[in-house]
């Protein structure tokens, strides 16, 4: 049961403040909105030079302990980067790589951590393969199988929405092994044997792949600590929700800017359309939804990983931020009139991003359902 009387505080440290400031300028410089379509059309999955810069800024190791080459902070600091990147619809492997590092930290063996975490901090891209064609949000629903054959594991089945897989130096996949869930690490060699197909996804700033694992074998040593699998899956799920919430809050702020700009400049019946309350009031409602979601986001960042309190907070942040972006971007299309129906209008970019953020790792209704069971 939730103590609704408890005084809630948001912790926001100096590192977060600095990172938010730097990341806001970085996102504006490197991912200007007027180049969004050029970024979508680019043959490369992402801009390598920008990625290298992100690595050299130390952003890939923010939530990695110092002993592995990171800066020993946490996901609360990662949020301050994911949010501004989301505002400018950046497409980078930042989130997937961060999540892979989290999986390793939670369930990797000592050797796996030693080998991979320092590489990740330096820019090796990680991809996470935990979703399957059935599309179920329950990460324990696993059709992909690993079968033991001596010192190797034979894999079968297909993973979906494996973002940034083509550039990944490692992929962590969830499998069913002997009836229970397990996590397995695929390196370049193993990936070479799998088939990777580019997926056509609604958010065109993302690079998503379908990973077909039939015929792939990996050494048993690639198994992460099985005793930690359940905890790791829960951790990854919550971390993904937190970072998706950050991207969605950023996106909501971004699309509010887009629609406000239009409402201030477009005239009909000799008046700026922003003077019409049928447009003004819903735009204010979008702002209120953003403010609420953002307050939940930074609260969830502060209590991340703190048992039930952390879980409740992150589910609330995810639910409210998906709804905020959905509403703001949906109205943004409508409020641009005919132009809103075009590919050229930025509103669609945010709407597409909104659907992605909403349906990955559970939509608002799904999280509210979980929350009801946690709270009542």
């Amino acid at each position: 049961m939730l103590d609704t009387n408890k005084k809630l505080t948001i912790t926001f440290g100096e590192e977060q403040e600095q990172l938010l400031d730097i990341a806001t300028s970085f996102a504006r410089d490197k991912f200007p909105m007027d180049k969004a379509r050029a970024r979508i059309a680019a043959a490369e999955d992402f801009d390598r030079a920008v990625w290298d810069e992100m690595a050299s800024l130390g952003w890939l190791g923010i939530a990695v302990p110092e002993e592995f080459g990171g800066s020993g902070l946490g996901l609360a600091e990662v949020v301050t980067i994911a949010e501004p990147l989301g505002r400018n619809l950046a497409g980078t492997p930042f989130v997937s790589t961060t999540l892979v590092a989290q999986a390793l930290l939670k369930a990797g063996t000592a050797a796996q951590k030693q080998e991979w975490l320092p590489k990740i901090c330096e820019g090796t891209i990680g991809a996470l393969a935990i979703v399957e064609p059935h599309g179920d949000w329950n990460l324990a629903h696993l059709d992909v199988k690993a079968t033991e054959a001596g010192d190797t594991l034979a894999l079968s089945g297909t993973k979906t929405f494996v973002t940034d897989a083509a550039s990944a130096g490692l992929v962590i996949i969830s499998v069913s092994l002997g009836g229970g869930p397990a996590l397995v690490l695929l390196d370049k060699a193993a990936l070479g044997k799998a088939s990777l197909e580019k997926e056509i996804v609604i958010d065109e700033t993302r690079r998503s792949y379908r990973l077909k694992l039939d015929g792939v074998t990996v050494p048993r040593a690639n198994l992460l600590d099985q005793a930690q699998t359940a905890a790791a899956l829960k951790h990854i799920d919550e971390a993904a929700c937190l970072l998706l919430a950050a991207e969605a809050c950023g996106g909501t702020s971004g699309v509010i800017d887009v629609v406000v700009e239009y409402l201030k400049t477009r005239k009909q019946f000799d008046r700026y359309i922003g003077s019409y309350q049928a447009l003004k009031h819903p735009t204010v409602d979008a702002l209120l939804a953003l403010e609420a979601a953002r307050s939940h986001l930074y609260f969830a960042a502060g209590v991340f990983g703190q048992g039930e309190e952390g879980e409740i907070a992150v589910r609330m942040a995810k639910a409210l931020s998906s709804d905020a972006l959905a509403f703001a971007s949906d109205r943004a299309i409508q409020f641009h009139g005919g132009f809103g129906f075009t590919y050229d209008c930025d509103a669609q970019l945010f709407r597409r991003r909104g659907v992605w953020c909403e349906v990955q790792h559970g939509d608002a209704a799904y999280h509210r359902r979980k929350l009801a069971d946690l709270i009542f």
Binding site: V260, Y272, K280, H281, T283, S295, H296, M316, L320
Partner: protein, 401 residues
């Protein structure tokens, strides 16, 4: 002066204990739910005594200057008190208009004499204040107020009417927006702002019955009522600016209030408790998935307000639209209350149709009454629609409607 966490915690303990010990017993009659609904003398005297007791204990106007009856202490202490009052659901501070908008206004721009004359009585509830802004024909369009204040030597003569005057029957003073000049280029220019006495010849206060059937606000009629020019606050002709400053205090967009709560808010925990006793198909309503979903949404909303207030204190998290949270808190809070109360009725099944007085009504009909009273805040102090306009224009920079 900044206090350590330990000092704040100790203070909270002290305050908690004081209110637990001193909170008034059930008076045996229904108390109003806000300062806008004080309808009977017994309600009024009960609330006035209660405010005086809180003030005398040192828990009101804690951050106001000592020379006018305040305590010159850090705002953080007053905030602790106000939160504790809300938490313990003790009766609200009835002189809200004085404590939270006339008071800070006078401290901010009043003369030394005005501060000396008015502030102590505001705190002790000796002098109740009311607000004369709205008129029968001009409410949202406040800048169009027409009540006439005509200069006659060093006096002004008041003629016209103000309406929806909360606390008007009990008030000794009023903050008044009146027109001192006719036919100006723009409607705002002819306005002036006054601190006026209520108990003078030519002022008549007539109670108005509100939607709950009780009394609360009033209409105030002015017929050749004479006031001294020393009642002016701010310059003659600059009343609009003063009114705007007052509204900023009223809506909580600017700090400086004496503290204490102004209304009894419902909490989601009470709705959850209701959902545990209300029935659906012979089972507690809280087991119904659609009801659970709605409840979760209210839990999240209530948290949003607390978290917004926490986040508004972190500068780095309010860079893009710095006034967004303070300017929207009235809108968000009042609409939340209205919808939550409405939902609470829907939980009660057929019995939601009972009203105060019927012994089958849930909790003696309190939810029905608080639902109706919730509109006081979605209409009073600038309607929710007007709040949307203000936020759209001032926070988002949208063109005026």
């Amino acid at each position: 002066m900044s206090l350590t966490k330990q000092e704040l915690d100790e203070f909270r303990e002290e305050v908690r204990a004081w209110f637990e010990e001193n909170k008034p017993a059930d008076p045996g009659f229904l108390l109003p739910l806000s300062f806008m609904e004080v309808g009977t003398d017994e309600q009024f005297y009960f609330l006035r005594d209660w405010q005086r007791k809180v003030y005398e204990a040192g828990y009101l106007g804690m951050a106001w200057p000592k020379e006018y009856g305040g305590h010159g202490k850090p705002q953080a202490l007053q905030d602790i008190v106000t939160r504790e009052m809300i938490r313990q659901k003790v009766p609200f501070m009835t002189n809200t208009i004085g404590l939270n908008w006339a008071g800070p206004l006078i401290l901010n721009m009043g003369s030394e004499e005005q501060k000396k004359a008015y502030i102590p009585g505001i705190l002790s509830a000796e002098d109740i204040w009311c607000q004369g802004f709205s008129e029968p024909d001009h409410g949202s369009d406040l800048g169009n107020a027409q009540l006439k204040a005509t200069r006659d030597g060093n006096e002004f003569v008041l003629n016209g009417s103000k309406i929806w005057t909360s606390l008007g029957r009990h008030a000794k003073y009023m903050i008044l927006l009146a027109r001192t000049k006719q036919n100006t280029n723009n409607k705002y220019e002819g306005l002036s702002f006054f601190l006026i006495p209520m108990r003078i010849p030519g002022i008549e206060v007539v109670p108005i019955r509100k939607l709950t059937g009780e009394y609360g606000f009033n209409q105030t009629f002015f017929t050749d009522a004479r006031i001294s020019e020393s009642c002016l606050i701010g310059k003659e002709g600059e009343g609009w600016q003063v009114a705007m400053a007052t509204l900023a205090f009223e809506r909580g967009a600017v700090g400086g209030q004496a503290g204490g709560h102004a209304m009894m808010s419902r909490e989601v925990a009470e709705v959850v408790a209701l959902a545990r006793t209300a029935q659906r198909g012979g089972r507690p309503a809280i087991e119904d998935p659609t009801i659970r979903d709605r409840l979760v949404q209210f839990v999240m909303e209530e948290r949003s307000m607390m978290l917004n207030s926490a986040r508004s204190r972190i500068k780095a998290l309010n860079v893009d639209r710095p006034f967004s949270i303070p300017m929207s808190s009235k809108l968000v809070g009042s609409e939340y209350q209205r919808r939550m109360n409405q939902f609470a009725l829907s939980l009660q099944g057929a019995n939601a149709a009972y009203y105060v007085g019927d012994d089958l009504a849930y909790e003696r009909g309190q939810w029905q009454r608080s639902y109706f009273n919730a509109f006081s805040a979605t209409i009073g102090g600038g309607t929710s629609e007007i709040q949307h306009n203000i936020i759209g224009e001032r926070v988002l920079g949208l063109p005026k409607s």
